[in-house]
Amino acid sequence: MSDTTPLLDVSGLTKHFPIKGGFPIRRTVGAVQAVDGLDFQVAEGESLGLVGESGCGKSTTGRLITRLMEPTAGTISYRGQDITHAGRKALAPIRSEIQMIFQDPYASLNPRHTVGKIIAGPMEINGIEPPGGREKRVRELLEIVGLNPEHFNRFPHEFSGGQRQRIGVARALALNPKLIVADEPVSALDVSIQAQVVNLLQKVQRELGIAFVFIAHDLAIVRHFSQRVAVMYLGKIVEIGDRDDLYNNPRHPYTRALLSAVPEATVDDTPRERIRLVGDVPSPIDPPSGCRFRTRCWKATEKCATEAPPLAQAEGNKAGHLTACHYPETQEIIPVTGLSKTPQEAV
């Protein structure tokens, strides 16, 4: 395996959920286009952040990568091996290398199992007998995630939300994975606990060299955790790039609007740029033609309605910073006083 092969290579990834309807014979009458043609790579040890608003397909993407769902089209390659439709047997060795951390630390741990059994679960399933026994490994893992190793006999309800999320992290680490898909791992936690878990994940990522696909809606947390960030809108990646390029020089109008909408806990004398989008995200059942963002975009023209913009390197972008827009933004983000952009009255 050469160094240039990315750990994860996703190309044209698509997931459409059929909608059944009609009487008396139920047939497919439409499809929710949850994810529509994603292309991205994740390098070894790197963290890729996926941000977007609800319904943009970020969680579906996570489930497709981990093969919890069958994609409608496209390919997923792990270390150069196509795993898009790999069967149970072919997947078995790879499953242990791709793990997942879930959003809800209350729903993702079996309340009837002790913490020891939960964390040892992946080893049991894969028939792995670590040196020194599973219990020793469980204690080690508990120590890594900052829990008392003596607590392996306790049940999930004896732990607080933040501690439970640590248990979820320990379970994901049990098989020494190469890639962890973390789906909103901190959004259910209180602010002070969020920071603890983010720090833990960052430590794990650095010390164990694990690659992350970090799915979240909180732009500040994604920026803090991920070296590269992809912004999704209605099932498509609208912009992807290195953290600094994307946050300091967003080229897609949606990225710019999203960043300007984040409330920041500062009271600057110079107000930040304010872009207020009108209306809501359209339905993924019947997404707008051409560019999917055009119904809320203040720059949209005829061309945007007819021609879907490809995800490409816009003029002036650094390598690897791709934008899917016909009219990319040109101005770097600077706090601008009195600047207001009012999108045209959308329907």
Binding site: S54, V191, S192, N199, R223, A261, P263, A265, V267, L277
Partner: protein, 345 residues
């Protein structure tokens, strides 16, 4: 306006709300005092279980009287609400004070049209006819920015998107032109772009109607955007209070430092770890003695004689600004300077 402007519109004094449960008494709010002037917005920040929602349900009289004991005084525009009869409270709710909730879908009846639900409040308090109520509902929907309000008024909640439902809730809350609006995490369930729309709307409406707003949230960013004054709650008590600019620029309480240190920003350093508060929020069944924050406080050892663990720090307020902490002003300045120097806040 019935009272003079020098008098606060809402005045809460030493409010205590205790629930009796099977496991013992939960001290959800334990000695909280604050004032709110007309047309101002007070942001209440705190984590889950800090008592911020309970405080506001108590103001509205929406607690369960069988299991709740309330002490202290809640004065709204000169009227005492603690101990007021159900009839009095019913007259005030929706009329003089109103509330919007986090989950708009759960707070709207799925069986009735948006227009009926908005009109119902109006008819109850003004005795208006059905026709007049419908007109009023359309007018309110227009005010909160719902397109085609004359058609949308006959829609059911499920036909609205999340942001539109929250707008409808705001329309319902403001239909009788209340003087006090309590907003309990109204934007938490919304996406950021929609959240920004709703906060702009609330600010515009406040300008127009002169409403006093209590805005409850866990997000200091939202506070920075919408509030005039901030009250930070921890374990059922106020730990810090003051004008927004001062609390965010020079926070005084170690808990507020911790909250600010826990939040990554859009332009801060990325390669340093965040500065979280260790431990978890306290159980209010058996809260810590002394200062409720002391088991998680990095500075408790700086106070002589273990006072943080034994003695409750009193909230000392001067000109609307103050904190409840045993640290001396000198220590506070020193620690805050250290934290700022290490970019921990």
């Amino acid at each position: 306006m019935t009272s003079t402007d020098s008098q606060p519109f809402l005045s809460i004094k030493d409010l205590k709300v205790h629930f009796s449960t099977e496991d013992g008494t939960v001290k959800a709010v334990d000695g909280l005092s604050f004032d709110l002037a007309r047309g101002r917005t007070l942001g209440i920040v705190g984590e889950s279980g800090s008592g911020k929602s309970v405080t506001n349900l108590t103001i509205l009289g929406l607690h369960n009287p069988d299991t709740t004991t309330i002490e202290g005084s809640i004065e709204l525009d000169g009227d005492e609400l603690n101990g007021a009869s159900d009839r009095t409270l019913e007259k005030l709710r929706g009329n003089k004070m109103a509330m919007i909730f986090q989950d708009a879908l759960a707070s709207l009846s799925p069986y009735h049209t948006i227009g009926t639900q908005i009109g119902e409040v109006y008819r109850k308090h003004t005795g208006a006819s059905k026709k007049a109520a419908r007109e009023r509902a359309i007018e309110m929907l227009r005010r909160v920015g719902i397109p085609q309000p004359d058609r949308r008024v006959d829609n059911y909640p499920h036909e609205f998107s999340g942001g539109m439902r929250q707008r409808a809730m705001i329309a319902m809350a403001l239909v009788c032109d209340p003087k006090l609006l309590i907003a309990d995490e109204p934007t938490t369930a919304l996406d950021v772009t929609v959240q920004a729309q709703i906060m702009d709307l609330l600010k515009d409406l406040q300008q127009e109607f002169g409403t006093s707003i209590i805005f409850i949230t866990h997000d200091l960013g939202v506070i920075a955007d919408i509030a005039d004054d901030v009250l930070v709650m921890y374990g059922g008590r106020c730990v810090e209070r003051g004008p927004k600019e001062e609390v965010l620029r020079s926070p005084q309480h170690p808990y507020t430092w911790g909250l600010l240190g826990s939040m990554p920003s859009l332009d801060g350093p990325v390669d340093v770890p965040l500065n979280p508060i260790p431990g978890s929020p306290p159980s209010l069944l058996n809260p810590p003695t002394g200062c409720r924050f002391h088991p998680r406080c990095a500075f408790a050892s700086e106070v002589e004689g273990n006072r943080c663990a034994t003695e409750r720090p009193l909230l000392q307020i001067e000109d609307g600004r103050g904190n409840a902490c045993h640290l001396s002003d000198g220590q506070r300045r020193e620690f805050l300077a250290d934290l700022a120097a290490s970019k921990a806040i």
